[in-house]
């Protein structure tokens, strides 16, 4: 590209000014991200000055093939997949439905949009504490609702599977607004003439959706699926706020944090096994690749087929 601001040495000025930002990015984010693969081959701890030794694939072997602990790890991996599947599918469907409905001229449309989007900016701490209170088992709103139908539940303090299901609910509740807004942005690019033409041709609501809206929404569909798949595979913070490190509910992300930085449950604090945690990070990374890449390729092919 033509550079207008001088010749020779002056051409270096952009590089010089770009350097701080890029250097910090490499140092704080990109470098550490890549270095995770190296740390996964060591017995690093979180203790300053402690020696770090290479132990090859030992961490991976222990993570995947050693007794009860590795069975727990594989359970966490399975749970991560279930979490990802449930969150992605439900959030996608709800977000799409909300967007299509709120793209109509309805009374109170802006109110609903704002309301659904609001939790996105709360952050996990507020989201988690709000729901802990909402699911208060002794006469809280959800407990009362359930009692009307003759049910009882401990919600977050109940069986692991049930507690886990509630985290899925809160995760969807918290992030559905982004999915909806991305769909709304996509819907707004569809020209109103197309709708009118379709309606004049006698298309009903469903046909309008199936033949006009759905294909033209392809770019937002792709963005949402990619963001939600990867986001939910890596998500774990709500587990920390809502449940703590509880057996039978852990997902990979939380397991990485807990093994890397120690986790206090009761009076027992586990040690900082950062090499091992780095290996777990790599397992999560491979999971993201194994799911993300084929989905990406599928979505791109589909987009080419539909939009040409």
């Amino acid at each position: 590209m033509n550079y207008y601001f001088g010749r020779g040495g002056a051409k270096l000025i952009p590089y010089l000014l770009l350097l701080p930002g890029v250097a910090v990015y490499f140092l704080i984010s990109l470098g550490p991200s890549i270095a995770t693969s190296l740390y996964s081959l060591t017995d690093a701890t979180g203790i300053q000055g402690a020696p770090i030794r290479w132990i090859g694939l030992e961490n991976y072997r222990e993570f995947l093939f050693m007794g009860q602990a590795s069975r727990d790890n594989l359970d966490a991996l399975g749970r991560t997949l279930i979490f990802c599947l449930c969150v992605t599918v439900i959030q996608f469907v709800l977000g799409l439905a909300a967007a299509v409905i709120l793209n109509q001229k309805l009374r109170g449309r802006n109110f609903f949009r704002t309301l659904y989007f609001m939790p996105v900016i709360y952050g996990v701490v507020i989201q988690g504490l709000m729901w802990t209170l909402f699911l208060y088992p002794l006469g809280g709103p959800m407990a009362n609702l359930l009692r009307w139908f003759g049910g009882r539940s401990e919600f977050l303090g109940g069986q692991p599977a049930e507690a886990f299901a509630w985290v899925i609910v809160v995760q969807i509740w918290a992030n559905m607004g982004i999915t909806m807004m991305i769909f709304l942005a996509g819907l707004q690019t569809i020209s109103s003439e197309l709708y009118e033409a379709a309606v004049i041709d006698g298309a009903g609501g469903w046909q309008l959706f199936r033949n006009v809206i759905w294909p033209l929404l392809t770019p937002s569909v792709n963005t949402n699926l990619t963001l939600n798949l990867i986001g939910s595979l890596q998500a774990w913070q709500l587990f920390m706020i809502l449940l703590g490190y509880r057996n039978g509910t852990q997902v990979l992300g939380y397991l990485i944090y807990a093994t890397g930085f120690g986790q206090t449950s009761g009076s027992v604090t586990t040690s900082f096994r950062q090499g091992y945690a780095a290996a777990a990070s790599m397992v999560l990374f491979f999971l993201v690749l194994a799911i993300g890449l084929p989905v990406q390729r599928f979505l791109r092919r589909r987009e080419e087929r539909i939009l040409g």
Binding site: F5, I13, S33, Y39, G46, Q48, F112, S192
Partner: protein, 279 residues
């Protein structure tokens, strides 16, 4: 209400009825937790114990005063603000100098550099080596080290690059002909012109810092350095069973976010959906 191009005109009545049923059911799930929080924050402890859901009759505003003092709110709020303001300021300035030459192609390998920001989404979590780095730099439990963590945000880079690309190149040429240097051009011409994008990134980035809970849990052990989120979790640990006071504390943290959002909704939404339409 504004007319939006592309609003569907489903004239069928049942369609509208179904729409409202869906919207209201969903709204209940969104309003419920907030109303419960508000209601609880106005109750006394005995009345909460008697019936957690019943409407607050006594309007016990003392909860807020209690939480404000006991949760050490003023101190933690100040910390959060210091972190958010300083990190966002440095981040924005450095990022504009990164994104402008990338968007313009004034540096070699501009596309490669941009790709390195995009792939961040897919890469392994940087948690462990990042901790080792901060530890070995001697910045563990240090506000400077904490701020350092927030000088990075790939999404903001995307938003800025996309926006700068819409500025006409002739601008650069004309300014250069007038004898304007690169640095001065970026500072006094580019900065003002990309204000909308900067506003979006500032809002998104500082919300991220405001809400962060993992980094303070990992990196800050000294209570004097805690940001407000960490303070709230500590407060929950101590007053976890005293929901009225805890609810007041949570609400005091939520309210500013809600108000901020109502004013800055446009920037937040445009930032989070940017790039999604083109795919």
């Amino acid at each position: 209400m504004k007319k939006t191009a592309g609003a569907t005109r489903l004239r069928l009545n049942w369609g509208e009825v179904f729409s409202y049923i869906f919207l209201i059911l969903l709204a209940a799930a969104y309003l419920g937790p907030i109303l419960m929080l508000l209601n609880t924050s106005l109750k006394t402890m005995p009345s909460f114990m008697r019936d957690a859901t019943a409407f607050a009759k006594e309007l016990n505003f003392k909860n807020f005063a209690d939480a404000w003092v006991k949760a050490n709110f003023p101190k933690y709020l100040l910390n959060t603000m210091i972190y958010a303001v300083s990190a966002t300021l440095i981040y924005i300035v450095t990022s504009v100098f990164v994104t402008f030459p990338i968007a313009r192609g004034y540096v070699k390998c501009a596309n490669l550099l941009l790709t390195l920001y995009v792939v961040a989404l897919f890469l392994p979590p940087s948690l462990i080596p990042q901790f080792q780095l901060i530890l070995n730099l001697g910045l563990y439990n240090n506000p400077i080290g904490y701020i350092l963590l927030f000088l990075v945000n790939p999404m903001g880079v995307m938003i800025l690059v996309n926006f700068i690309k819409t500025l006409p190149r002739e601008l650069d040429e004309a300014a250069a002909l007038e004898g304007c240097g690169y640095f001065r051009f970026v500072v006094s011409i580019v900065f003002p012109l990309i204000r909308p994008a900067i506003a979006t990134v500032v809002v998104l980035h500082s919300i991220g810092i405001w809400n962060e809970i993992i980094a303070p849990t990992i990196y800050l052990t000294n209570k004097n350095y805690y940001p407000i989120t960490r303070g709230l979790i500590v407060f929950q640990g101590v007053y976890g069973s005293n929901w009225p006071t805890l609810a007041a504390a949570v609400l005091m943290l939520t309210a500013p976010m809600m108000i901020l959002f109502l004013f800055l909704q446009r920037y937040i939404v445009s930032g989070l959906t940017s790039g999604s339409v083109k795919g």
